[in-house]
Amino acid sequence: MSAAEASTLRLALVGNPNCGKTALFNQLTGSRQKVANYAGVTVERKEGRLHSSASGRSYAVLDLPGAYSLHAASLDEAVTRDVCRGFYPGEPAPDVLVCVVDATNLRLHLRFALEVRELGKPMILAVNMMDAALRRGIAIDLAALERELGVPVVETIAVKHGGARALVERIDAVAAQPHEPRTHLAEGADLHAETRRLLSLAVAMPTRTAKIDDALDRWLLHPVFGLLALIVVMFLIFQAVYAWATPMMDMIEAGTGWLGEQAGGLLPEGPLNSLLVDGIIGGLGGVVVFLPQILILFAFILALEESGYLPRAAFLLDRMMASAGLSGRSFIPLLSSFACAIPGIMATRSIQDPRDRLATILVAPLMTCSARLPVYALLIGAFVPDEKVGIFNQQGLVLFGLYAAGIASALLVSWVMKKWRRDKGEHALLLELPSYRIPHPRDLLIGLYERAMIFLKRVGGIILALTILLWFLLNFPAPPEGAMGPAIDYSFAGRIGHAMAVFFAPLGFNWQICIALIPGLAAREVAVASLATIYALSAADDDAAIQALTPVISDGWSLATALSLLVWFIYAPMCISTLATIKRETNSWKQMGFATFYLFALAYLASLVTYQVAKALGAG
């Protein structure tokens, strides 16, 4: 550690979940950080740098997981407790604690602030969301609060530009003269009683309640209309994914086609030309084209997160999920798994009941992650006509069906697990329902930027590497002198594909599909790039080679094969990273082995049944 780093003051942002810590962290550090409006989103350590232009000082800012208490009841609360106390391995104790509280919910948040104060460290209380409090008519006397608490108190509006300026000034002041809190709780004093006392002295609540929240909740939490609204919202999202993405996808497709032509023209005919045009540009272009669909899906998910609707959805689904062996708390990790099962599995740390947590981890891979979307989009585009069914797009309907199948399967599997372990216990749901908010465009854009960067980083990293390796396996060794068949039959990949085809033939998979499944283990979307490369190289003539992949597979595969492959991708444990995360989070090879086995068995059986039934019905 350098002298400059050693002398940098360390600030830690602590507070209840959903108090706006992460938004404040973004505001202070300019760091790109996911902002969400539900409990338990921050499950990992995030650090950024704050530079105060007024004092010229630099600070290391740590964004800690949200916690309701320092008496930890979940993994993320334990992390917060240990870091605050300076017990966390490898993590220096913070010099100043910035305790963030939600001005609209001080009854809950001040209790935690009192616990943090009792740690005896220099502390600043940031009363966040002051704008929302003012709109609701909540009057907070910050001077009285500061006097009674014995720590500096400052108002912040994390989502507004410059909304943390006063906080930075206070940080500078505390950094210049750090001091412990001036007051402490008396021995045996009750935190709730002290919170009530503080509220009576410093906070004047309006007589009217939050009318908008109540009015919306009357409908959105209704057992029938609420569920209907949830179904309609989800349904519209999948329609939009297809309807809005097409122009952008066409542009990307035309762009990669043009790039391939230019690159092919620059290099002489030969293996390097083939690697660049067939392997890299053809393969990566086939994956990048799905970026608009992924971004549209995430724009909706982020907006729902920020609006405060997601905890309501968790509440609505609690009874249904409990009957399936999960809890309402499982909803948010499972929804995160639509992006990627890995953060979803990590988000299960906020589930306190170990049985619920394990069940959620084991079914999270069944949620349709964004890496599956390119595969689904390719097959739907090839086999489902782009027609209207009433007012709905038929392709969007099928995509919705695939997502629904993943969700239904997850519920079914967790129900079987519940029956298996004969669990009749009650799993109560305790959930904070935040006020509704209009999503802030900046946070939405940051979220989308992050998602796009993650996707493009994968394209430029693991997917590019796998595409090159696959191209090598498809082209080497060269066919022997006088060989009559297509060159690919003599390659490493051709031989592997033909060997695997024996096992997968009952599912309707040809050898090309079998080859594509192997690199798909590292990143599912590579299956699409692989198919593009394989078909370009194994095409009978140049015309076939220059055709887009979609018409090639719609001509070459039966509908039964396409359905079987779609079903395979719903269930198959086709992601090594997810399995590694299951091992890490459960700390058990047994659980990881179980997840791999049941997912593989389910994928094989479901694909087998799908293919054989479709064939019997004349689709083969």
Binding site: E44, R45, K46, E47, P89, G90, E91, P268, G270, P271, L272, L275, A339, C340, I342, P343, M346, M453, I454, K457, R458, G461, I462, L464, A465, L466, I468, L469, F472, A522, A523, I576, S577, A580, T581, R584
Partner: protein
Amino acid sequence: MDASLALQYAIIAVAVVVSAWVVVKKQFPGPLRKVRIALALPLLREDHAGWVRRIGRWIAPPGLTANGKACGGCDGCG
């Protein structure tokens, strides 16, 4: 084989080796670390020449830190 073709094969060989390294590093970081340690340890013995020990240090994996590198998010794993 003419020089142009030989150069093309050389570039392809480098690309394939680098790609294989990236895949192993991303997908199997634990086993890779163990292999690097196993390869580096014999080279780092005191009685070896300086240049052998330098190779050993180059092969050895960096030390594990408990800071935010191990984020576990999907941007780091794939």
